[in-house]
């Protein structure tokens, strides 16, 4: 307890009802709101229950004398603020849908992945439930009208309070809340993560007892399976493929399927907004160009059909085969049509029987397409434009314009396509492969691209091109959206060590104020401490864009790139740190981007001579020596910095990591322990601890630490990977491997408690 107070500061002992309580009760309202996705529906049901008089008389619920629900007094305010932010919120949804549209366009190469859609459905339902008054002219919804929501938020508040005061928390009989399975799962997942953060200094058993009491009250079975996004990737994918192939007996995708998808996704209230969003999302790269690219791919698809494959069903089959085989690691994969096809492509053996794709050939995709868009001969673009004009959306116009501008494609691309010669197509294909952002110019990279594409679809990580490698990915569902002051809330949560929650609050702030550099910076630090370097770098890049001279941001980017072994970038940022420092910039006389490592190091050393009492200079030196693998010096620098700032937990971790990387894992573990004593929720130090043991060959111990880290942040992908290595190197525990593969933490936590 004492240690927790030190770390969490006053937040741990604030009296409920004071200021501190108000700042933490609002997110709980939000949590309850978002968890109760179906609130408006369950309300109806609850009103019909015997013993429940109806709205406004919730004090009688369940026979408990609940005359006052903690947290409820803030609800009205919360809701009003929320509705004021509707329009912004909507815009965000717009971006989501335009993403989906992009997927749908991609989908003519690979049909859209189902869970995407399902997630959107869920998000949409959630959204509707959150803002029931939205469509009736912004009328603020009545808080009194939602008894289950209030019960739940009050209940969560008491759970939180009991954790603060360290008092007991007993299971309570709550009225029937009508929670859906998905709601229950979400409550369980989030409350167990929160529980682990709260009681990081207590044992697992303690946490489980707490969380179980909470879950029991809500009538949630702790054995619900994880099938949410954090669940395994492949089973879902396979399921989807089976579904798709089963649903279409012929297995043949309709040529206009993507258009239908487009229609489906087009139910957005503000069509103008998403077009901008889409452009913004793609880094200003004109989507028209992208469309052109996709069009070429479409052309390619048509050719596939005439060539090796009889119809797309075969292609789909092989794709599902790839997925299945990818999972089974079955050598049969090598004999699959798909691989043969690709290898034939790569050897240039692909033979297209007909030199021309003539309209009127049966099974001709182009022909089908033309027929779909009667009257034939009509320009597809204008056709499409006509279809969408009544929505007042600029998409059609834009498309038509871009289309005419594009020199390589004529207006009537369908006709053009039908005249297309194989040689042209092959050239185009080769060209496209050469331009392929992650490919290397060889035809084989097609398969790689495909793998990557599928990976992205499943994991939602947009690392398609080098430039978009560091695009920040926001969480799908965020209860803090609509919170009156998410930045303050995020800072508070961060201070108390609730990293995963702080991420959500800060994301809500940044959805509201995308140029808030302080928000991005803190988000970056939070991600780094939560051991998610990709998101950390992405956040810091945004922070740098908003404020290019912030020293902490430059240092953090230097550290992030050092961790990713990206020497040149790291050096550039550390040089930038020196250049932008008000006292030390005088040491930089040249263009900082052209400096070598030794030059930067020398300048920082000069700075250290001038200001030996500045811990930051020593920290920068330590990172620089890490880059050049001069570990002894790096360790000295960090130790010097620690003399100046002995309570900086991130410095202890840096010292430990340096020692671990220089094969001094035993020393490292002491340093990590110091960091964890100062900040028990420091996920990075927990996982580094695991790495330290793994590098010493002490795999069983490493597993325990990895599992501990994952308990606090199940989204740390690299830790899952490391855990897998340790599991396979330890005992042959196939059951545990499977749990790890499916990303199920519970069996692992039971087997490997710390």
């Amino acid at each position: 307890m004492a240690m927790r107070d030190l770390v969490m500061g006053g937040g741990a002992c604030v009296v409920p009802g004071g200021d501190g309580a108000s700042s933490s009760s609002n997110p709980l309202g939000g949590l309850a709101d978002s968890l109760l996705g179906g609130a408006s529906k369950t309300q109806e049901r609850i009103r019909e229950l015997p013993g429940l008089a109806g709205p406004g008389q919730s004090a009688d619920l369940g026979g408990r004398p609940l005359t006052y629900l903690p947290g409820s007094e803030f609800e009205n305010e919360f809701d009003q603020r929320a509705s004021a932010q509707n329009s912004q919120f909507l815009q965000r949804f717009g971006s989501k849908f335009s993403d989906a549209w992009g997927d749908a366009v991609n989908g003519h190469m690979m049909p859209p992945v189902a869970h995407h859609d399902r997630e959107q459905e869920a998000a949409f339902r959630n959204f509707e439930a959150l803002y029931p008054g939205m469509d009736s002219a912004g009328r603020p919804p009545l808080a009194l009208d939602a008894p289950p929501q209030r019960v739940l938020s009050g209940f969560f508040q008491s759970f939180l309070d009991s954790s603060r005061m360290d008092g007991p928390f007993n299971a309570v009989r709550l009225p029937e809340l009508g929670l859906s399975e998905a709601d229950k799962r979400r409550i369980r997942d989030r409350s167990s993560i929160m529980g682990r953060h709260f009681f990081a200094d207590k044992g697992d058993e303690y946490v489980n007892a707490r969380v179980n009491a909470l879950l029991q009250s809500l009538d949630i079975d702790n054995n619900l399976k994880f099938r949410e996004p954090m669940g395994g990737r492949h089973p879902e994918m396979e399921g989807y493929w089976n579904e798709v192939i089963g649903a279409r007996p012929g297995g043949r995708p309709l040529p206009d399927q993507w258009a239908e998808d487009f229609h489906q996704h087009h139910r957005i209230p503000e069509p103008g907004g998403w077009a901008q969003e889409f452009e913004a999302q793609h880094n200003g790269e004109s989507w028209g160009d992208q469309f052109g690219e996709h069009q070429q791919q479409m052309a390619a698809r048509g050719q596939f059909r005439n060539g090796e494959m009889n119809n797309m069903a075969a292609l789909e089959q092989t794709r599902s085969l790839v997925n299945t085989l990818a999972q089974n690691q079955d050598p049969k994969f090598q004999n699959s049509k798909f691989l043969q096809f690709v290898s034939k492509m790569s050897r240039g053996e692909l033979i297209v029987e007909d030199n021309q794709v003539k309209p009127g050939v049966t099974n001709d995709w182009a022909n089908e397409f033309q027929q779909q868009h009667l009257p034939p001969g009509d320009q597809w673009a204008s056709e499409f434009m006509g279809e969408h004009q009544h929505r007042g959306d600029r998409w059609g116009d834009e498309f038509a314009r871009r289309h005419q501008e594009a020199p390589s494609t004529s207006d009537d691309w369908v006709n053009d396509f039908s005249r297309l010669h194989v040689q042209d197509w092959a050239d185009e294909y080769a060209e496209q492969v050469a331009k392929n952002p992650y490919g290397d110019g060889s035809h084989e990279s097609w398969l790689d691209s495909y793998d990557k594409f599928v990976g992205e679809q499943m994991t939602d990580l947009p690392n398609r091109t080098a430039s978009s490698k560091f695009v920040y990915v926001f969480a799908d569902q965020n209860p803090y959206v609509g919170h009156p002051n998410p930045l303050k809330e995020g800072q508070e949560l961060f201070r108390r060590g609730l990293l995963s929650e702080a991420v959500l609050a800060l994301e809500a702030e940044l959805l509201k104020n995308p140029e808030n550099s302080e928000g991005w910076r803190l988000l970056g630090i939070t991600h780094a401490e939560n051991d998610d370097d990709k998101q950390a770098i992405a956040s810091m890049v945004r922070a740098r864009d908003a404020d290019p001279t912030n020293l902490e941001v430059l240092l953090a980017l230097g550290v992030g790139h050092t961790n990713e072994l990206e020497q040149a970038e790291a050096l550039r940022y550390l040089g930038g740190w020196l250049q932008n420092h008000p006292q030390y910039s005088k040491f930089v006389q040249q263009d900082v981007n052209s400096l070598s490592h030794s030059q930067v190091t020398q300048m920082v050393n000069e700075a250290a001579l001038v200001a030996p009492g500045d811990g930051d200079v020593h920290t920068v030196l330590g990172v620089l020596y890490n880059l050049s693998r001069e570990y002894d010096r790096a360790i000295q620098s960090f130790q010097r910095a620690l003399e100046l700032k002995p309570r900086d937990y991130s410095l202890w971790n840096k010292l430990g990591a340096t020692q671990a990387n220089s094969a001094r894992s035993a020393d490292a573990i002491y340093a990590y322990q110091q960091a964890l004593d100062l900040k028990p929720n420091y996920v990075r130090a927990w996982s580094n601890m695991g790495i330290g043991y793994a590098n010493q060959g002490r795999y069983e111990e490493s597993i325990r630490y990895y599992v501990r880290a994952l308990g606090m942040n199940p989204k740390a992908d690299n830790v899952w990977d490391y855990l897998k290595i340790s599991l396979s190197s330890c005992a042959a525990r196939w059951d545990m491997m499977e749990a790890c593969e499916r990303r199920e933490l519970e069996p692992l936590q039971k087997e490997y408690p710390l």
Partner: protein, 130 residues
């Protein structure tokens, strides 16, 4: 301990070079001795910046004599692998398993298949994060 001037990464832009530097230190520990007992083979690893076979840098990870050096190998390696920079790191960090890497053409193998099968991600040290 390796000091400036002796690192692979000093004269290379590959991320793999940085990992190989770490590998040198790793093999001096008890874990190195364990790897010698458990694996005891000589691997040559060719790493290309963008495309397998082009501008490759050769590294030799000798688990018989616990050495890491720039290739080509003195004598015949038990197995030779070719990677693109990022893919090698993915394999070494467990993100991509070696069988998958091979099937997808991200890893080319020459030499004994038996030796190749002992090439697992636990050979390499995991970089700790600052």
């Amino acid at each position: 301990m390796a000091e400036a001037g002796q690192n692979f990464a000093d004269s290379s832009t590959l991320k793999s070079a940085a990992l190989m530097d770490m590998m040198k230190g790793h093999l001096t520990t008890d874990e190195g001795k364990r790897l010698k007992e458990k694996v005891g083979l000589v691997y040559q690893i060719n790493v290309a910046p963008k495309k397998i076979g082009f501008q490759e840098e050769m590294f030799v990870v000798d688990l018989k004599n616990l050495k890491v050096y720039k290739g080509p190998c003195d004598g015949k390696p038990d197995a030779t692998f070719s990677f693109v920079d990022g893919d090698f790191l993915s394999v070494a960090s467990g993100k991509l398993n070696p069988q998958m890497a091979f099937i997808r053409g991200k890893m080319k193998i020459k030499g004994s298949m038996g030796a190749a099968q002992k090439f697992t991600p636990d050979i390499f040290p995991k970089p700790a994060k600052l």
